[in-house]
């Protein structure tokens, strides 16, 4: 395509990169950085490191700080923690009142427990629906497998908010399900489904199902099928082989999938806000209300810290699993 003597664009770009990088490395700045022990690798790792430090870790310290301060009507609506009591005495006013408030008012404890319960049940439902699907996808032939996998991921690419919204039209009193049942003559009056706990479960399971299927599929697809043949040769019935071989081997996938569903579901806000009963207590909704409606930033912070303390253990579990997974692939 290119005439004789013309250098293809790709190669030209490569030359630019080479020259540019060489110039930086050879420049006085480059050699000075090297003398300080600043290597390219350290630079590469430190950029995301400091980004995450500033925008991920430090914010939690600030949340912790503000959870100990008093709420005032001002902007920002909280009192500074540090003040000068006299000229030389630095005063730190720690206010545990926000946490005491969380314990005294049993609304918060109820909301925590209810969120954990709803998240746990939804996770179990996701597992019950997702496992057979992941299994079926992993055991179909290669061409079908890719199409099925794409079909699992596809809804995930369309807006989450709009997919939750779709359920309002399906579940409401003159919605798709009730209209169908009534026209078939199966019921005389619409069944109340929207604004119930049932709708919240449907919404969470529906939205988080791909997060369960994908790690399960990744695990089941890697499984050595000769193990099942061996089990069959030794006289195992298919369901026995499933319980004794497939299920235990897929445990890492089950754990990863369950954590990916459970942890975010505990703090879920959009689904209970759109599909649930307005009075339904979910901790994500409580935090949202404290922040946006009551403008009580310190109490919202205390709610966040308490939620985080509860989730730290499952999150660390998840990181362990994630690390083991990437290390396993590496070998």
């Amino acid at each position: 395509m290119t005439g004789p003597g013309a250098v293809p664009l790709g190669q030209r770009i490569n030359f630019w990169i080479e020259d540019g990088l060489g110039a930086i490395v050879r420049s006085p700045v480059g050699s000075r950085l090297r003398r300080w022990g600043v290597t390219g690798k350290a630079l590469v790792a430190s950029v995301p490191f400091f980004w995450l430090l500033l925008f991920f870790l430090i914010p939690f310290v600030i949340v912790l700080k503000i959870s100990f301060s008093d709420s005032v009507i001002a902007m920002p609506p909280y009192q500074p923690l540090f003040g000068w009591a006299s000229e030389k005495v630095l005063e730190i006013k720690l206010n545990f009142g926000n946490y005491a408030f969380l314990i005294e008012d049993n609304l918060y404890i109820k909301a925590y427990l209810n969120s954990i319960f709803v998240a746990a049940v939804s996770t179990l439902l996701c597992l019950l629906i997702g496992y057979p699907m992941a299994y079926a996808i992993a055991r179909s032939n290669a061409a079908t497998r890719n199409v099925l996998l794409l079909l699992v991921i596809l809804p995930f690419w369309t807006s989450f908010l709009l997919r939750v919204y779709a359920w309002i039209g399906i579940l409401k009193n003159n919605g798709l399900i009730n209209n169908t049942l009534m026209s078939l003559g199966l019921i005389d009056q619409p069944i109340q489904m929207l604004q119930t706990d049932f709708a919240v479960y449907v919404g969470i399971v529906y939205s988080y199902l791909p997060f369960m299927i994908l790690p399960l599929y990744a695990n089941l697809e890697k499984m050595d099928l000769t193990l099942l043949e061996a089990a069959a040769d030794l006289g195992c019935k298919p369901w026995q082989a499933f319980l004794k071989v497939t299920l235990p081997l897929s445990l890492p996938g089950i754990i990863a999938g369950c954590l990916l569903v459970f942890i975010p579901a505990v703090g879920e806000f959009v689904i209970p806000a759109l599909l649930g009963d307005p009075g339904m207590l979910m901790i994500g909704k409580v935090l949202w209300t404290e922040f946006f409606n009551n403008r009580d930033w310190p109490v919202a912070s205390a709610v966040a810290i308490a939620l985080l303390l509860f989730l730290v253990i499952p999150i660390m579990f998840f990181q362990r699993a994630q690390d083991a997974e990437s290390a396993g692939v590496h070998k």
Partner: protein, 289 residues
């Protein structure tokens, strides 16, 4: 060979996919409904698309969301690639555990916590340094970069773990500096992963309601924020029209990606076959000689 009963697997897939797709199909069908009552069919009409395009608030919010999504996806890909490289290729280094922890935690962190903590950070930073001045597009972008880069990191890291390090080692043995190895060897190989990482980050940003609500300022309402405030008051057919447009865009994007990838796969297969054939020829000629 594959074990299990085929009918059971078929049933699981049929029910599962029905569950996943019926809501989406219903969104599309009722966007063409004449009646304002979204779920009662009143005849075919495209009037809600017209209503949507006349809605300046939604159009403005959509443009803002697209801008935010494009910028934050690009930054997230750069930072996520750096993180993925450091975690997959640098071996043990000081701070590795912390980096990997900070890079994976945003994947599961409840959005209300991320949103609140980032808002408090921005407020504190503004008090201390006067930056970022107020809240709006900048703060939303910073927030979206932070949580989207976690997803990019996972994709890049797993792609790096899949391919053989020996290619990079070979380039280094031939005298290429590490940076050159990265741009000439690593980057072209992981490019598909970067592309899907960018698309994922873009989608996540475009879709985010909770974090954006916390860190947005007055006058910077993103599309999900406008949709949420509308939807809270009940169903409205123009939102169905909006959903349908988004679904069509995604479907076209996926179809294009599918065609490109299968074409690449074919080229790769053909190259592999040609290499095999050449090998065979060489072996044959050696045998003869």
């Amino acid at each position: 060979m594959s074990g299990g009963r085929p009918w059971f697997r078929m049933l699981a897939l049929a029910l599962g996919f029905a569950f996943l797709y019926i809501p989406i199909v219903s969104l599309v069908v009722f966007s063409f409904n004449e009646s304002r009552l979204v779920t009662v069919w009143g005849g075919f009409s495209t009037k809600w698309y017209g209503a949507l395009l006349d809605n300046q608030q939604i159009i403005g919010a959509a443009l803002l969301s697209l801008k935010i999504a494009a910028i934050s996806a690009t930054v997230a890909v750069v930072l996520g690639t750096l993180t993925g490289m450091a975690l997959a290729r640098f071996g043990p280094f000081r701070g590795r555990t912390m980096l990997s922890g900070m890079a994976t935690a945003p994947l599961v962190m409840p959005e209300v916590i991320t949103g609140l903590s980032l808002l408090l950070l921005f407020v504190t930073l503004e008090q201390l340094f006067g930056w970022p001045e107020g809240r709006g597009m900048t703060t939303i972008i910073l927030a979206h970069v932070t949580f989207a880069m976690a997803f990019v990191t996972v994709i890049v890291q797993s792609r790096l773990a899949q391919f053989d390090e020996s290619l990079e080692e070979a380039a280094q043995d031939l005298g290429a500096r590490p940076a050159k190895v990265f741009f000439l060897v690593t980057l072209p190989i992981i490019f598909p992963a970067l592309l899907s990482g960018w698309l994922l980050a873009f989608t996540l940003s475009l879709d985010d309601l909770v974090i954006a609500s916390f860190v947005a300022g007055p006058g910077s309402s993103t599309l999900p924020m406008v949709v949420f405030s509308k939807v809270r008051l009940g169903v409205s057919p123009d939102i169905n029209a909006l959903a349908t447009i988004l679904i069509v865009i995604v479907a076209i994007g996926v179809a294009i990606a599918g065609v490109v990838m299968s074409r690449q796969q074919k080229t790769r297969d053909r190259d592999a076959q040609m290499a095999l054939a050449a090998n065979q020829q060489m072996i044959d000629s050696l045998k003869k000689g």
